[in-house]
Assembly symmetry: C2
Homo-oligomer: 150 residues x 2
């Protein structure tokens, strides 16, 4: 992500903080910047590792708490995947995922046809629909190469 877009996203977060009278701390800013730098749907620990390069004393607890705050404010999202750790996604727009059923990795993919599919009416179920994601499930290149090698 280029610096201009990153700066814009940080400003959006700063605005949310002002609106809600929440302190805009340097830790929070750096945690958001770290998520925006990472394009691999990082776990909290991977975010912590990256932030710690710039701010060596930062606590894991702060990273865990801040990531949940960012999700609650809608600044970032959680990625849906089959694994056992929470993973975050810097993207908040409609996009889709390639999911490897062998290693559980998630990669982004954009496709305008998938963006435009007609969604069913879920109001009868009491479900308030906001948006959608398509998961394309299969085997990633890395895992295929490993299988061939073995």
């Amino acid at each position: 992500m280029d610096d201009r877009e990153k700066q814009r996203r940080v400003e959006v977060f700063a605005g949310h903080c002002r609106d809600r009278s929440l302190p805009f701390t340097s830790q929070r800013r750096m945690i958001l910047e770290a998520v925006l730098d990472l394009d691999n749907h990082p776990s909290a620990d991977q975010v912590h590792e990256r932030v710690a390069r710039r701010l060596p004393g930062i606590s894991r607890a702060t990273v865990y708490r801040t990531l949940e705050t960012l999700v609650r404010l809608g600044v970032i999202t959680k990625a849906c995947h089959p694994g056992r750790v929470v993973r975050y996604d810097r993207r908040t727009d409609v996009h889709h995922h390639l999911i490897c059923l062998n290693c559980d990795e998630v990669a982004d993919i954009s496709d305008e046809h998938l963006d435009a599919i007609p969604l069913p009416d879920t109001s009868a179920l009491g479900f308030e629909l906001s948006d959608h994601r398509v998961q394309l499930r299969g085997i990633c290149q890395t895992c295929r190469e490993k299988e061939e090698g073995s």
Copy 2:
């Protein structure tokens, strides 16, 4: 799931065991039956709790190991969701999920239009596509009622 369908699924698993010379133990059969009984994308611990009703001595380790075996054989699947525990899905056919962004719960939904959407060509990315799922994201009825109440 009705008993006939359950019986059929158990037979499919028994066949896989015969093909691969794997022991078809009573623990394995009861663990599969428990997953087939549960329609809420249960965690390993929820499966363990249900199996333990019929087989009080069963170990958590056996449940964890057996669920992974069932996934590897393609008898059940893992559900993709935003939470921090692994959750299993008795369904192996194409279907879709309602995902609550508030409580992370997953509910099944079937829709023939979503089943039939055109999938992009991922071969250029080295990704071998097998199938797809659509995640419909929003707020579930339970969470909406809680919000109104507060």
